[in-house]
């Protein structure tokens, strides 16, 4: 039941998302897009989408490796640049990151990962200014919901075209648009250290995670109902906990209300106000 419910009409989805990318840029007065390419699936799909929406000459993709990034990431990123017909751009963040990391003895993996994500954010936003472009985000619904992403790091962007697609749906869309098999088939990874995978970190496969998320979020099922569908109690509770624990990442910071009209509370305008 759940697998069927997650299936999408990819032709409709892709047509719609292409229009979304076009309108979100053009209405804001932009023609150029900047995308940080990791070599992974999400940024590959977003790159192809942006190229199809805006034209290859209007898409500025950059590979932003750290010295610990894997050779596979570089190979797959290069494959995607070639696949989309855009020139290879690489900016190594090792020196800028190490200048800080050297002053932080004992820094753990989580802090390092967050730091690298925010270094990439700083670089891609600076590059977007240089290109007069908007940064197109690559977060998917699975990671937005469980918080497997860095606040003001990889989550920072001007628009999120695949933010309402679960990871397994992104993969299905990738097959539909004919991305190279090596990009589709590789295990999703933040690529912060050798052998790291999302599924190892989150502790469950995306197939299972997405079904639990779909039942919890889209169908508003109770955890008891989901367990009765055959999912492990512990898993369902862990997913619920991850959603709650990462809620702060999905909202704007609360502003202390003092006046009659307060930014973020009752000063209400659409993003493209006045455009």
């Amino acid at each position: 039941m759940t697998a069927d419910s997650l299936a999408l009409n990819n032709t409709l989805v892709y047509d719609y998302l292409r229009k979304f990318v076009q309108e979100e840029l053009y209405t804001s007065g932009f023609t150029e897009a900047c995308i940080a390419l990791s070599g992974g699936l999400d940024s590959a799909v977003v790159l192809k989408l942006a190229v199809d929406a805006l034209g290859a000459e209007h898409v500025h993709a950059i590979f932003l490796p750290y010295k610990a990034s894997s050779d596979e990431s570089r190979r797959d990123a290069r494959t995607m640049f070639e696949f989309c017909g855009i020139p290879w751009q690489e900016l190594d963040i090792s020196r800028m990151a190490d200048a800080y990391l050297a002053q932080q003895p004992g820094i753990d993996r989580l802090r390092t990962g967050n730091l690298l994500a925010r270094m990439r954010m700083a670089v891609i936003f600076d590059q977007s200014k240089k290109e007069n472009a908007l940064v197109v985000g690559t977060s998917n619904k699975s990671e937005l919901l469980v918080g497997y992403s860095t606040w003001y790091g990889d989550m920072a962007c001007a628009l999120m075209p695949i933010g309402d697609l679960y990871k397994t749906q992104v993969r299905s869309l990738a097959r539909h648009i004919g991305l190279p098999q090596q990009v589709i088939a590789k295990p999703p990874s933040a690529d912060l250290w050798a052998g790291q995978t999302d599924e190892g970190e989150i502790g469950v496969s995306y197939e299972t995670l997405d079904q639990v998320l779909y039942l919890l979020v889209d169908q508003r099922c109770s955890s008891a109902e989901i367990v009765s569908e055959g999912f492990e109690t512990d898993l369902v509770h862990r997913v619920e906990h991850k959603i709650l624990a990462s809620q702060f990442k999905r909202v704007s910071p609360p502003v202390a209300k003092l006046s009659q009209r307060t930014v973020g509370i009752d000063f209400l305008y659409p993003r493209d106000w006045g455009k």
Partner: protein, 279 residues
């Protein structure tokens, strides 16, 4: 009688009354040139949909000077368009006007304003409380705005009041991408099909396209005839102006074939409601 209706499936600029007015004039002139007698625009076509606090700045009366060019054009083509109406009570309403022969013939205030999930209309608009129909050269006409179309009692009441032509300006966001068509398209199809098949009226459904803060409006504007057939259908996601033909003889013919209209006995409903009220 046969006449031509133009379905203006447009993408209004959010909050930009001036540019939307120009767009309406251009659309109406295009329709006129193509031989249309009536043009119908989507919900809030003169202002855009996701207005939020711009609502206060954009409210106007249907007879305001700014809409003069449209009233002038209505000497040549009747116009139904959506706007933020400044009520005589100072309240903004999500309304649609019908202009013909240089005059504002009717204004409908949206009665059912969705305020749940992605919608927050009642936060900004007053609720229309007047269900009324009006006579035009096209026959007795009613307007329902977007969610109004999903309220069978409102549509049925308009039918009971004698409506032959139902205009349904809309801003329906796309959602439900799992099937051959969008889930919302199926829902709209049911509403159009039941209004035209069971109530024997022509329905002109005009939905906008474009995006507001992540909400994408899917288009798919359609003309539904009294046998429940879609005789004109605009594309998904693309702006378009579509022409449809209305042959009013279909109404009597269909109602003779399936005389639901003739069978209708509102006294039954009235009696049930009164009995409930008195109990």
């Amino acid at each position: 009688m046969t006449y031509t209706v133009a379905l203006a499936q447009v993408n209004p600029a959010c909050g930009d009354l001036d540019s939307n007015l120009k767009m309406h004039v251009a659309q109406a002139e295009q329709a006129l040139e193509a031989g249309a007698d009536l043009i119908v625009f989507p919900e809030l076509s003169l202002t855009g949909y996701t207005l939020k606090d711009q609502t206060l700045d954009l409210m106007r009366r249907a007879d305001c000077p700014a809409f003069g060019p449209l009233r002038d054009l209505s000497h040549h083509i009747a116009i139904c368009a959506g706007f933020v109406e400044e009520g005589e009570d100072g309240i903004p309403y999500n309304s649609a006007f019908f202009m013909d022969a240089g005059d504002v013939v009717h204004v409908h205030r949206k009665m059912y304003l969705p305020t749940h999930g992605m919608f927050d209309e009642l936060k900004f608009f007053g609720r229309g409380r007047n269900l009324s129909v009006f006579d035009t050269r096209f026959g007795r006409t009613g307007i329902v705005i977007c969610r109004d179309l999903f309220h069978p009692l409102e549509v049925s009441a308009m039918s009971a009041l004698g409506v032959d032509l139902l205009l349904a300006p809309s801003a329906m966001p796309a959602r439900g991408f799992g099937g051959e068509e969008l889930a919302i398209e199926q829902t709209v199809g049911l509403a159009l099909g039941s209004a035209s098949t069971f109530l024997g009226m022509f329905v002109v459904y005009v939905n906008r396209v474009g995006f507001d803060d992540g909400l994408g409006f899917y288009g798919g504007s359609a003309l539904s005839d009294p046998v429940g057939e879609i005789t004109a259908l605009a594309p998904r996601f693309e702006a378009a102006q579509l022409l449809g033909t209305v042959d009013t003889s279909h109404i009597a013919r269909h109602r003779y074939q399936l005389p639901i209209h003739r069978e209708e006995d509102l006294a039954i409903v009235r009696h049930a409601l009164e009995a409930r009220r008195d109990s």
